[in-house]
Amino acid sequence: MKITETEVRDVAGLANLALTDAEVGRMARELDEILTHIETLKELDTSGVEPMAQVLYDAGETATLRPDVERETLGNEAALANAPLAGNGYYKVPRVIER
């Protein structure tokens, strides 16, 4: 086994993902199969190979910076329009700090 149900629950905690008991069992089996397949990467010698985080092409070093010019922003109302709960120009969430 590459991954146990306990580990599945830990990872789900890190991902803020509520899983049912049935989902935990199924996830353990499925991830186990996928991780077993992923193990094949170990066969490949990658010593001395630079990790590729992005597709590289020729671009000037500062070419990705746009001019620092002020522009119109989305605005509070539009930004909050899709919030499940908002009020007084803010997102509202369950109480975090007791006073």
Partner: protein
């Protein structure tokens, strides 16, 4: 007939006043809405927006002003690309009521060019899937064979284009999500060089792999649509500065002497009829004067594990934003902040998204980062190097897009690993960031379309389109 219109026919019709853009838009909307029950390709129609653009086009034409290269062309947009004021669900329950406050750059460029957006197309949830069965709004049916999948994740865009309910469409491709559905539905699908098209407004799945790309019924229509949406955009820092060449001007049919590589690793696990069709396609290329040679891309067998580590790692991070605060849906079980996060995500995401969030979180977690994520990035470099080496010998690489044609709805949905393995020929192009496309290459004895994949060097879209267009004109479509 509206279902077969090409962009140049629309341009001619508008010029000759056979129809107005408004008349065409109304007809196209009516047709698309009536036909949608067959395939479930569209999730949302945008008649107001379509008619407003059409009216602008008609006004420009009446004033004798250039109405743009896509003037009056009815188009569909995959529902992972945001449209201001038009619902964008990403195929997810979580975003059932999400109305974006801005337009993706590709969408604004299309409308500036006169393109008429009919609506938003169905897709796998957050573009994660190879069959469109992971949509929260039901699967799309393949218009060629209604009991089969259209491929994924841009299944709705491919189906609408094949069905004729859009002249062309935008999809997105992270591991084959434009090319594979294009091949399953018998249309052209293009994944441009990474950075060629701005990702601004493309809902992020795996940012280092995500591309927007066009689907169309001909190479020239796909090339024109790509032309319109390409080019540097300061809203996407990874968008390329490289000037956009005139893609249509290179479609001269002259591919004599072009060196085409057939990587042997891409023909090992292919279904026999698919292999036969591609072999027949290669014969067509030979007749056009191309030189065919066998090449090797030895790291190919590691592409699937490499891809599924990188894409899930990036996805687990990108999907963290759906937490019940900003995006329309919050679980009723939100007693505490932590419960709100966990239950909103637990009840909102479908199975495939959960699987990828879990795998991505796992490979990034303490103790596993080097063994999985960093290892995969090194393998990615080797895959890119494979292609660099190959392109020192050949001008283009030709392969199947998928090991098999469209399968039956439900046939493979029970086995995630098997579904992942089916992406073997399409993930490599995204990992290397090179341009690649699917061009129709006949059909199996059951009448199921087969797609031939063409891959070229970074920014060599012109070479790719020239070859695909010559192939298409030489009868690639007809199945030879």
């Amino acid at each position: 007939m509206i279902a077969n219109l090409t962009i140049s026919q629309i341009q001619a019709g508008l010029k000759a006043k056979t129809f107005s853009a408004t008349e065409l838009a109304k007809k196209a909307l009516e047709f698309a809405q009536a036909e949608n029950a067959k395939t479930n390709a569209y999730l949302t129609f945008s008649p107001e927006r379509a008619l407003a653009t059409a009216a602008r086009v008609d006004q420009a034409l009446a004033q004798g002003v250039d109405a743009g290269p896509l003037a009056g062309v009815p188009l569909a947009i995959k529902d992972v690309i945001v449209t201001k004021g038009v619902r964008t669900t990403c195929g997810s329950r979580l975003l059932e009521h999400y109305i974006p406050p801005y337009d993706a750059t590709a969408v604004s460029r299309i409308e500036q060019a006169g393109g008429v957006i009919l609506g938003k197309t169905n897709c796998d949830e957050f573009a994660m899937g190879s069959s469109n069965e992971n949509s929260a709004y039901g699967p799309v049916r393949n218009p060629v064979a209604l009991d089969r999948v259209p491929g994924g994740s841009s299944g709705g865009s491919a189906a609408a284009t094949a069905q004729g309910t859009a002249v062309a469409a935008l999809g997105s491709d992270t591991g084959g999500s434009v090319r594979q559905p294009a091949s399953f539905c018998g249309v052209v699908g293009v994944t441009p060089t990474y950075g060629r098209v701005s990702r601004y407004g493309l809902v992020a799945f795996a940012s280092s792999l995500d591309h927007i790309g066009p689907l169309a019924r001909s190479v020239s229509d796909a090339a024109l649509l790509l032309q319109v949406i390409s080019g540097r955009d300061e809203m996407d820092s990874t968008s390329a500065f490289a000037p956009v060449p005139d893609y249509l001007s290179v479609l001269d049919g002259n591919v004599r002497g072009k060196k085409i590589g057939l990587p042997k690793e891409y023909f090992e696990g292919v279904a026999s009829e698919t292999g036969d069709r591609i072999a027949a396609g290669v014969e067509v290329l030979k007749k056009l004067g191309c030189e065919i040679r066998e090449i090797s891309l030895p790291v190919t067998k590691y592409a699937i594990p490499c891809y599924y580590i990188i894409c899930t790692a990036e996805a687990s991070s990108n999907l963290a934003r759906y937490d019940g605060v900003r995006y329309t849906t919050r679980s009723a079980e939100a007693g505490t902040l932590s419960d709100m996060y966990r239950h909103t995500r637990g009840s909102g995401f479908g199975d495939e998204c959960k699987r990828r969030i879990m795998l991505g979180t796992y490979v990034l977690s303490r103790g596993y980062y080097d063994a999985y994520y960093l290892k995969a990035q090194r393998v990615r470099a080797l895959i890119a190097e494979d292609f660099r080496r190959a392109f020192s010998e050949v001008d283009a690489i030709v392969t199947p897009v998928s090991p098999f044609p469209a399968f039956k709805i439900g046939e493979k949905s029970g086995d995630p690993m098997e579904m992942y393995l089916s992406d073997i020929y399409s993930v490599t192009g995204d990992l290397a960031g090179i341009p690649c496309m699917s061009v129709p290459c006949g059909a199996t004895s059951d009448g199921l379309p087969v797609g031939m994949q063409i891959l070229t060097r970074h920014f060599d879209e012109p070479g790719m389109f020239r070859l695909a267009d010559a192939f298409e004109k030489a009868g690639g479509f007809a199945g030879n």
